[in-house]
């Protein structure tokens, strides 16, 4: 069984609320960081239960920062876990976070889930992530929910925003005159965009223009 599921099922510490299929996604994208001195930023503290879960999962060298808008969350700090109070949609607050935490390897956005919040956090934190970092945004089903300013496609939702990045991932192959389609910082740093029900995971890597390679003997 997935270690996170085991932890979750035996959890008698602070409350954790998740969709059940998230654990496998975390494991898939986060496993390579276990046991390392990974720096994690989670937006949305709620009851502090998932911060405790990350601490157990990543191990004693992990450094975990929780961000929340509710000042009461500050009291959930413990060893390896720091809490910062602020608005995930506020670029100035996020600039302060970048300054205070020069290295972040994993961002988990489980904050307020509105379009504005998800987009502002991504735009202000993604480029700050370390070179092979991971940015995971959860509950992206709100991209379809009016209450969070979502809707079906074309409403400039977070899912729509991520879809535009798929084009940027391909921009090294741009040919001829394609207004608006250019190699960007995203082209140079996004290795993959991974979609699941309600979760989007962006994996970073230093990308260069791809090369065609060949070996072996022609058959004709």
């Amino acid at each position: 069984m997935n270690e996170l599921v085991r932890y979750f099922e035996n959890n008698d510490k602070n409350l954790i609320v998740k969709l059940s299929h998230y654990f496998e996604i975390y494991e898939r994208h986060f496993a390579r960081f276990r046991g390392s001195d990974v720096h994690i930023l989670e937006i949305g503290v709620y009851q502090g239960g998932s911060l405790q879960m990350w601490k157990e999962y990543f191990g004693q060298d992990a450094k975990i920062v929780g961000v929340d808008i509710d000042p009461r969350m500050k009291e959930l700090e413990e060893s390896q876990v720091e809490i910062r109070i602020g608005d995930q949609a506020d670029p100035e607050f996020l600039a302060k976070i970048r300054e205070e935490y020069p290295r972040i390897d994993i961002v988990i956005d489980d904050g307020g889930h509105t379009m504005k919040q998800q987009r502002a956090s991504f735009e202000n934190l993604f480029h700050h992530l370390s070179d092979s970092g991971v940015y995971l945004c959860e509950d992206t089903c709100t991209s379809y929910w009016a209450e969070y300013d979502g809707g079906i496609s074309g409403k400039n939702t977070f899912v729509d925003f991520s879809r535009d990045l798929i084009d940027e991932v391909h921009a090294f192959h741009r040919r001829g005159n394609n207004a608006g389609f250019d190699v960007s910082e995203y082209t140079r740093t996004i290795d993959s965009i991974n979609y699941y029900d309600s979760v989007i995971v962006f994996e970073k890597a230093s990308k260069r223009p791809p090369k065609m390679v060949y070996t072996g003997t022609p058959s004709f």
């Binding site: 996604i25 809707g151 979609y195 058959s219």
Partner: protein, 221 residues
């Protein structure tokens, strides 16, 4: 370096042509099938080198099928490798494959790379691969190239087609508060979608409506 890269670098058998970053992506998604009884279907055989690479990579229990429009590929038959000649844009040919082939676990579309070929092949083949199988389409940068029927933001491109599938992937959760979103066969059978430079992957899995789970004690009201 992955075993695939090692194989590629020392390859003296049939010619393989790939983009250099593909090997790591293949290994990441395919390695769970190594040394298993896996059935692999590659569309687009070219010189036959990648079929030999898959045979080496997946091991002695793998069955590898290559499809190509060029009848000359029939000459590449060897143990574990079978060839079928046909057009990946021809729906009746693709439907006929269901009768001719065992259940497929992995599909690699490295065929003609036009929009119509990629979309047609996906539509016909995806529903019939095994329940935890993998569909990989490569050279999807042709979605941005006019001579393949693509173009930036062009609705008919394979990338734009796949972008809309993201909505279907989210339909269990999304439709909770959005009546315009419908649960489809794709929603019920696709577990994840992965977009890389020039590669799109869909992983299958049997899915149900996600459930919220809770554990632990409430510390703040």
């Amino acid at each position: 370096m992955s075993d695939l890269q090692k194989y590629f670098r020392t390859n003296r058998k049939r010619l393989i042509t790939k983009w250099d970053h593909y090997f790591e992506i293949y290994d990441r998604h395919f390695k769970r099938y190594r040394d298993r009884e896996v059935t692999v279907l590659e569309i687009g055989v070219s010189h036959g080198g990648s079929l030999q690479m898959w045979k080496h990579y997946f091991g002695s229990r793998a069955r590898i099928f290559g499809i190509d429009i060029n009848p000359a590929v029939q000459g590449y038959v060897e143990s574990q490798i079978e060839l079928i000649v046909g057009d990946q844009e021809d729906r009746s040919f693709l439907r006929g494959l269901r009768e001719r082939l065992p259940e497929i676990d992995i599909v690699i579309d490295d065929g003609g790379h036009t929009m119509s070929q990629q979309v047609t092949t996906f539509e016909e083949i995806f529903p019939y691969i095994s329940k935890d199988g993998i569909y990989l389409c490569e050279d999807t940068h042709t979605s941005y190239w006019g001579r393949f029927g693509g173009g930036y933001k062009k609705e008919a491109s394979f990338i734009e087609y796949m972008k809309l599938k993201i909505d279907e992937l989210n339909a269990f959760s999304g439709s909770k508060h959005n009546k315009n979103l419908e649960v489809t066969d794709f929603t019920r059978t696709a577990k994840s979608m992965h977009f890389y430079d020039s590669i799109v992957i869909v992983e299958k899995g049997i899915r149900r409506k996600p459930t919220t789970v809770r554990a632990g004690r409430r510390v703040l009201s």
